[in-house]
Subunit: 235 residues, 2 copies
């Protein structure tokens, strides 16, 4: 069969600068992002009426993947990273066609001199993500309340997040440049972004997650996450 | 930004041989279809665990479109075909990237000598549709029961369908070759497949819809749909 070619119609701007730390599904981490329509699609008419829908589907490309060959099975984090399921039984980024699909809250539409931006709630999209399509979420079709959810029947548990005192101070100083920073860090780390195969271990290893151009360091402690540093990321 | 290229991973087999008559959303018309995985993706491992999900997302290409230039607004059938909304506020087939998205019931997985077929319930997919991706439906993420549905807040009403007596007879004779034919016709026509701009009119025009290689003729009468003919489609 033929190959199909698609050009992006938009691009995502988000605090997520690397795959590590991105929520594993949309709706889990309440962090604002924007979707900027690209020319020639950045016309107010193209989104006329969209404001009447509370949620939208975003079809996008996993654009920042390492070049890895497609494999028929993957190890989803929800199974602890040890069990394998079929790639089509997962939402893994490593799939034959690197297509992503996210339902996100549409919080507003900004129409300016230079085009159209959609304000998104709780997305799970890397900064710079190329968007191929936007569709309205139609509840009577898309919301299937009695669907069976296989190995991911409910949202993963959230962890408690606390800051070392000097890190809390540093964070407050940074709020001027990064409004909502503390909340962003709390939301992202509550999801336990560690690789699944690490999640069972009891260890003091420090991790770093990139949010905007900051490096946020943390470790897992009894009962939660401890934020151990917030500083400009090395360039 | 760069152009992205995708190769189909599967193909749909359905009774729908032309766009006219296809349900406007999945889940509305209870008609079975199948999704055949294509080589090299037609391996049982690639769908391992998928049977634990009751529904799947199918990302596909609207492959049989006339070549029409993209337009920023469309006239959705749900608004009577007269009002315009933005192309991104609709699920119209005519969009900048002709990508389709349907959630369908997964009724079974058939693994045979020659590969893998998924049995689908109530899809809205043209026969021959190229499939780019399959993902599990994850209820805790995808089912947003309080979402606001804009101009399509609920399923469209269904029409009563009745057969002219001689057509009912012809249909029964054809059931040997086309099991479930009468039910298929009832399901498809109950949706009122007429173009929206015709739907307000009170007229005796006869329409034809292609199901398998049959031409099903019908007209709209007081209180419903009258099936006026079922015969092999002209080749």
């Amino acid at each position: 069969m033929q190959t199909f070619n698609f050009d992006p119609i938009g691009i995502v701007h988000s605090p997520y600068r690397e795959k590590f730390g991105i929520p594993r599904q949309p709706g889990l981490v309440d962090v604002a992002s924007t979707l900027e329509l690209l020319s020639p699609y950045n016309r107010p008419e193209a989104v006329k009426g969209l404001e009447e829908f509370s949620h939208i589907w975003i079809s996008f490309v996993f654009h920042a993947l390492e070049q890895v060959k497609w494999r028929p099975t993957v190890r989803p984090p929800r199974l602890g990273g040890n069990s394998r399921v079929g790639v089509f039984a997962s939402r893994s980024t490593h799939r034959p066609n690197p297509l992503g699909l996210s339902v996100v809250a549409l919080e507003g539409i900004e129409i300016g001199q230079h085009g159209v931006c959609l304000r998104l709630g709780a997305a799970d999209l890397l900064d710079g993500t190329p968007v191929l399509d936007i569709k309205p979420y139609i509840p009577y079709v898309d919301s299937i309340h009695d669907a069976r959810g296989g190995f991911a029947p409910e949202a993963p548990p959230r962890l408690e997040v606390h800051f070392l005192p000097e890190v809390a101070q540093a964070c407050r100083r940074l709020e001027g440049h990064y409004p909502g920073l503390e909340r962003l860090i709390r939301e992202v780390l509550a999801q336990d972004p560690r690789p699944a195969y690490q999640a069972g271990r009891n260890e003091l290893r420090e991790y770093g997650v990139a949010l905007y151009d900051l490096n946020v360091r943390f470790r897992i402690v009894q009962g939660g996450v401890e934020v151990t540093g917030v500083e400009p990321a090395p360039r």
